[in-house]
Amino acid sequence: MSRARTLFEKIWRRHLVTAEERGLPATLFIDLHLVHEVTSPQAFTELAERGLAVRRPDLTLATMDHSTPTDPSIDTARLRVLDPEGSAQLDQLEANCERYGIPLYAMGDERRGIVHVIGPELGATQPGMTVVCGDSHTSTHGAVGALAFGIGTSEVGHVLATQCLLQHRPKTYEVRVDGRLQEGVVAKDIILAVIAKLGIGGGTGHVFEYTGEAIRALDMEGRMTVCNMSIEGGARAGLIAPDDVTFDYLEGRPMAPSGEAWEAALEDWRSLPTDGGAVYDRTAMVDGSSLEPMVTYGTNPGMAIPIAGAIPEDEAVEPEKRASFRKALDYMALEPGQQLEGKPIDVVFVGSCTNSRYSDLAAAAGILRGRKVADGLRVLVVPGSDAVKRQAERDGLAQVFVDAGAEWREAGCSMCLAMNGDQLAPGQYAVSTSNRNFEGRQGAGGRTFLASPLTAAASAITGRVTDVREVLS
């Protein structure tokens, strides 16, 4: 019998074109390469300059998401005027995909959306695959049991030209979340608590594998939320072993195997989970049953506290980290020891590849149904994909948001990185379901509190940072 292996090791081994040896990296085959407009132009230029073809356009998939407008009144013609640079980038992606025969979900295509939303939604990302994209949140696709990680533009070029990457084998890190979540606590709270515990560099050099009862109990979209933010814990990838929840999710999706191929795939996928007795390089445990809704107070995703808690006092911060801690609080205009609950806010953003899927919108709509957003508050709800948008419109969720006084937008990255004009004004506070609260991430001078869709919706009603459990009870 072969030795016990982790899920990561199994995927890694089956994609080795050549193994690592004598200081040379392994050559890893990539099953699916996702491409978007922002990190690909220079890679395509390099290909053209070197006279190279795209090796496997059939294993490549492109979409437009980062700089696309989400204001329904902005069409392609208006975009050319409003944002000539962004629109040139979209044109260039279209031309590149055309030239190299890469399938592209362009503006107006029903399959278009945020790259990390549409991959699983289309059934393109599957258990056991290697998936890369020029985007750090590629870790999202680990939720289906794929080894998925972000790469830079040079590497985008490598994969386009060779369908391979030069890689050193990362270490494995089991993040075990046991117990049952309390009411009002969701996947986003798990991952914010994990990052707060491990630190934002805690996973550097590692691949997380999330295990334990609380993870198994999540639906696929919750698992995507967790894996999505692996990178905020420093890990390039985060994995969850595929199980019946995964298979039920994938079955019947447009790009998932069907018929006999489905049966064969299932048999293979069932062999992927980590073997009993396999050893991880590191392990961390989190008690899921003691988790509370989480919210960030600082300028990185690790600076998070339970919503009923308070920002740490200076003394609680290690001396060498105090200057950075103070800098973050200065930027946020907050004080050590301060409570966040009740803090007035200006904007609520529900969206991004972390929390813009149907179940995220349904959770937010569940809170907002029959209620109104607070006076003077701007609330943006941005679905992750065109498909999510259509489903939410069909099922009446969109109407709930509109009736409550929120803006219902077109699919895209939007205010998550504020490239498309959706942004905070300097000094504004937002409760946001996205993944990064870095200085200026949501607009220069903007201040972000990261939280779950439930917390965001509860805060939308009150216009303040709000504990959703108070609304639920």
């Binding site: 050549t18 990190t39 132009p41 590497e155 060779t162």
Partner: protein, 207 residues
């Protein structure tokens, strides 16, 4: 843009902040470029200029705006440098500005990989070394260090020397100018064999 590195001696620009993310190195508004140029003016623009606007007023106490550090081509930064977004625009901006190397106690994985592909050397050092370098620069901004990639050493202001780790393959590429894409392209036979051996699986997935 030179993608090689052998040895460099020079002064350091100190940025004693932890977890400097790539959104700070180069904000998203600069990501609309379709080439690699023009990013230097956006480097740290939110910390460097009033309202983050390169046309506007420089913020005088930001390290890159201080005369004594104006010539520095080595960035001395706090722990976990380059976290966040995978944007290769970050090393492009640093290199475009003129930086040759970054010294820190640790680096985020994707940034490290991106930097080394662009001739920007990543020099990881121990905490005490980092602290002594920050002290030395504070005492005398003209303090110089030498980074020797061949020997994998960093000379210290006190006359000592410390070794640093660097991925052997990246080191080789930087020293002799090996082109990583060329190296991968040379593996075409092995890639073809892999594709043939996995044809059924790969075809299923493309359907």
């Amino acid at each position: 843009m030179s993608k090689s590195f052998t040895r460099y001696t020079g002064t350091m620009a100190p940025l004693p902040i932890q977890n400097i993310d790539t959104d700070q190195i180069i904000p998203a508004s600069y990501l609309k470029v379709t080439d690699r140029s023009g990013l230097a003016s956006g480097l740290f623009s939110r910390w460097r200029y009033l309202d983050g606007d390169p046309e506007g007023e420089p913020i005088s106490d930001f390290v890159l705006n201080r005369a004594e550090h104006g010539e520095a081509r080595i960035l001395l930064a706090g722990d976990n440098f380059g976290c966040g977004s995978s944007r290769e625009h970050a090393p492009w901006a640093l290199v475009g500005y003129g930086f040759r190397a970054v010294i820190s106690t640790s680096f985020a994985d994707i940034f490290r990989s991106n930097a080394l592909k662009n001739g920007l050397l990543i020099v990881p050092v121990a905490e005490d070394v980092s602290a002594s370098l920050f002290d030395a620069v504070a005492a005398d901004p003209a303090t110089e260090v030498t980074i020797d990639l061949k020997a994998r050493t960093l000379s210290l202001p006190d006359g000592g020397e410390t070794n640093f780790e660097v991925d052997p393959f990246a080191r080789r590429c930087l020293l002799d100018g090996t082109d990583q894409l060329g190296y991968l392209l040379n593996q075409a036979p092995a890639i073809r064999a892999f594709e043939a051996a996995n044809a059924a699986r790969l075809d299923t997935r493309s359907g």
